[in-house]
């Protein structure tokens, strides 16, 4: 496969064609934060926290590093002001949903989210879909899924499958960046199994 040369945060990177920016950055030790990414799962591009700024020609724009494939001569900036501002707002938005999630709190602190300008809501879940995709892609059980659309979207265990599969598996629990999944499971177990 062809090799592609690009620049990430001033460092020259040579990787195989088809590599994502996130993977390419890792090879030169550039850390990009992620929440919905997992190396065992298909990239999803939903949390957008891995947004980085790319420059091709005179145009700069933000792209999600976990899904954007490398291009010859691309100049990538993972720490620009625009990137920091975007990540800060995204974290602020996520923190309003899941106020006590350690992983998000830590990232929020790192990006200087100092004030909570949005009303808190106790969803506990940021809908990163790690659990849903793990169950579908790795376990191939589809015991947990998304329901609803737009702001009504939520994650739900499917009682018929979950009551059979989940008690002995629970493999998705440790992937969850918040504590929402465990609570969700206990609730589902109590109410529907």
């Amino acid at each position: 496969m062809k090799e592609v040369t690009l620049e990430i945060d001033g460092k020259e990177v040579k990787v195989k064609e088809g590599t994502t920016l996130l993977e390419a950055a890792k090879t030169v030790g550039v850390e990009i934060p992620t929440l919905c990414y997992h190396e065992k799962l298909e990239p999803y591009g939903a949390c957008r926290i891995c947004s980085v700024e790319i420059k091709s020609g005179n145009r700069t724009r933000l792209v999600a590093a976990c899904v954007y494939p490398v291009e010859e001569g691309l100049v990538v900036n993972t720490k620009s002001e625009r990137v920091a501002k975007t990540r800060k707002m995204l974290l602020e938005l996520m923190l309003a949903r899941a106020p006590s999630a350690k992983k998000i709190e830590d990232l929020a602190y790192e990006y200087g989210v100092d004030k909570a300008r949005f009303e808190k809501e106790s969803f506990f879940c940021i809908l990163c879909g790690l659990c849903v995709r793990y169950c579908a892609e790795v376990k191939k059980k589809n015991a947990i899924t998304f329901i609803g659309r737009g702001t009504e979207r939520e994650v739900m265990f499917i009682p018929e499958i979950a009551s059979r599969e989940c008690p002995s598996c629970q493999g998705c629990f440790d992937l969850c960046p918040t504590d929402g999944l465990r609570a969700n499971f206990l609730l589902a177990q109590a109410l529907t199994f």
Binding site: G45, A46, R48, L62, K85, T86, G150, R153
Partner: protein, 641 residues
């Protein structure tokens, strides 16, 4: 009907059809589109059929159930050919008279004519009605000339001639070159050059290649795709087959939303007819080219109109967008090269092939060629579908064709491009409308929705309305779109409830910027447009809501009050009786007072107060005067003295 296996046979069929038709025979064309159907056109059609029998006119007059001619507000619309006499708001009760007077006696029935609201003149012929007169009806014009359920009608008008020309006189490369040179741009919203899209699909490695019609029209108030799909489905099919030939595709999909049942029926029938006639399927017209089409019904998601979401839906999964860093033209349905174009884009293709590139390039502006159908709705006298050359001004559309704003009100803004578009104020009424100009103004062409607003519209409320639409229509996958909309809506609710704070405007702008920059698909990236354009052009209204707790248009209920002026009130009891909340106190000869605690701010009192008294006032941002003491409220009337 035997399959047509050559161009000659198609031409012979056309000649046969034409030979059997007498252009001088009276024909009553009745709109059978969804708009008129809602107004009862089915009953009008039945009445005509029965009455023709009763009056013994069978064989002497044709009745044609047509597609939507666009003037929906005046349905049921009926046009009598060959004269082109145009009747509006026809009901079954008018049918006997139309047959006896207009068809037999050749007399025009005055009361069914359209009256020009600006001149009060009655207009007899369709072509003279201002709504039609100033349009350039290339795509939609045939809607009233054919029955969408009749392939014969389409062929009589030269239908499938462009397909025959492409298959037998052009190579696929020549067809592609022709579309590229035409500079046709995607009519679904993006305005991407169609020819370039086709080329990348044609050049992309991988077989099979798919071609798709996007009829998932979902913008509030937009229905141009529906009108074409219902009214002239064969024109869309013909365009699609030509495109498939150019791109080397042998399989196509038509994605129609299930909420368009008539469009689904008509296009299914059209596919069946085309297959039976050898215009679709294997060895089309004996050319050796094979192509089949499948209809896929959408399940009512706005976001499924987004190309990657639509393709995911066709694959049988939930219609959610996926990252498009690898274009769908390379990896679309089942990761195969796929071309998706809007209904209106496809409908342009037969015209470009038939009439040529120079004809098409003679219409429109420098970078936007051809016509565009707009759905003109809202506070405008003539609502309906308007087809104009690109580059026409908003003023032309709203005033010349739309007949201006009703009730002598002032124009305030026009929202173009649906929930992802923006509000354009009066200052830009003379700007030419094309893809680039609208983008410059912070709005977009979108699918061509055009919602006109008058001075009684609150732009803050409008922006809130569109966010509300998107709150339900976002797929909810990515954080900026889902959470950004949720929080923006919170702020909007606060502002319109009079709880807005300093800093709210800046926060809205901050969220908007992040949504634009980092959302996964175009829905999220453009969702802030209504907010940003209203902030740009009407910032003072936002400030009035936040700082003065005043809604300048008098719309936001929490910020308005109704008040009865004691000096003008004649204690006539009308508002007191009509108030649905029982909030008006008073009596005969006792001046009325609104109990503000009980008032639900519905505005009924203002509506019913006789204009000669003019006693009810809507107030915003000012204190309500203290009611006058009980003893001063008694009116002693002169005549009783």
């Amino acid at each position: 009907m035997p399959r047509l296996s050559s161009v000659n046979e198609l031409e012979e069929l056309r000649q046969d059809i034409l030979a059997k038709r007498d252009p001088q025979k009276p024909c009553i064309a009745i709109c059978a589109g969804t708009g008129c159907l809602a107004l009862g056109c089915d009953k009008v059609i039945t009445a005509f059929r029965e009455e023709v029998k009763k009056q013994g006119l069978e064989g002497k007059v044709d009745i044609r159930e047509t597609g939507c001619p666009g003037f929906c507000e005046n349905g049921t619309v009926v046009t009598i050919y060959p004269e082109g006499i145009f009747y509006i708001k026809v009901t079954p009760e008018d049918v006997t008279e139309i047959l006896s007077q207009t068809i037999i006696e050749k007399k025009v029935i005055d009361r069914l004519l359209y009256v020009d609201p600006t001149t009060n003149e009655k207009i007899i012929h369709e072509k003279d009605v201002p709504f039609y007169k100033y349009q350039k009806r290339i795509l939609i014009g045939n809607n009233s000339k054919l029955d969408p359920k009749s392939l014969d009608d389409y062929i009589a008008l030269g239908g499938y001639g462009a397909l025959a020309k492409a298959l037998f006189h052009m190579t696929p490369e020549q067809v592609l070159e022709e579309v590229k040179k035409s500079n046709l741009r995607g009519r679904g919203g993006g305005g991407f050059p169609t020819g370039r899209k086709w080329e990348s699909v044609r050049d992309a490695p991988g077989e099979p290649k798919y071609v798709i019609v996007n009829c998932d029209e979902g913008d509030p108030g937009a229905f141009m795709n529906r009108a074409l799909m219902e009214g002239n489905p064969h024109s869309v099919l013909e365009g699609l087959i030509i495109g498939a030939y150019a791109m080397g595709s042998h399989e196509g999909f038509i994605y129609v939303r299930a909420e368009y049942p008539l469009a689904v029926d008509n296009v299914r029938l059209a596919i069946k007819q085309a297959e039976e006639h050898g215009l679709l399927g294997e060895n089309i017209l004996g050319s050796g080219f094979d192509f089949k089409i499948e209809v896929h019904q959408g399940a009512g998601a706005f976001v499924s109109g987004e190309s990657s979401a639509l393709m995911t839906a066709i694959e049988g999964r939930v219609g959610e967008p996926r990252p498009k860093y690898i274009h769908t033209s390379e990896k679309g349905i089942w990761d195969k090269p796929s071309d998706l174009n809007n209904v209106e884009t496809w409908a342009n293709i037969p015209f470009i092939i038939n009439k040529g590139v120079s004809w098409f390039n003679s219409i429109g502006t420098d970078r936007s060629k051809g016509t565009k159908i707009f759905a003109l709705v809202g506070k405008v006298n003539n609502t309906g579908l308007v087809e104009m050359p690109l580059g026409a001004t908003l003023r032309d559309i709203i005033y010349k064709i739309g007949g201006g704003i009703p009730g002598g009100k002032k124009f305030k803004a026009v929202q173009t491009g649906g929930p992802s578009g923006g509000c354009i104020p009066e200052a830009y009424l003379d700007f030419p409308i094309d893809f680039d100009e609208l983008t410059k103004l912070g709005s977009m062409m979108g699918s061509g929705g055009m919602i006109v607003m008058d001075e009684d519209t609150c732009v803050v409320d409008v922006a809130r309305y569109f966010l509300n639409v998107l709150r339900d229509e976002s797929c909810g996958k990515c954080v900026p779109c889902r959470e950004g909309i949720r929080q923006m809506l919170r702020i909007f609710n606060r502002i319109t409830e009079g709880k807005g704070e300093e800093g709210d405007i800046e926060l809205l702008e901050e969220i908007s910027e992040v949504m634009r920059d980092s959302s996964l698909c175009a829905l999220g990236q453009t969702a802030p447009n209504p907010v940003l354009t209203t902030l740009e052009y009407f910032r003072d209204e936002y400030e009035a809501h936040i700082r003065e707790k005043r809604c300048p248009a008098g719309v936001c209920k929490a910020l308005i009050s109704y008040y009865i002026d004691p000096n003008k009130c004649q204690a006539c009891m009308i508002c007191l009786r009509d108030c649905p909340a029982g909030a008006i106190e008073g009596g005969k000869n006792l001046i009325h007072v609104i109990n503000q605690e009980k008032c639900t701010k519905c505005g009924t009192c203002l509506e019913v107060c006789p204009p000669r008294f003019d006693a009810v006032r809507r107030m915003s941002g000012e204190p309500i005067p203290v009611p006058i003491p009980q003893e001063e409220r008694v009116i002693s009337r002169k005549e009783k003295q």
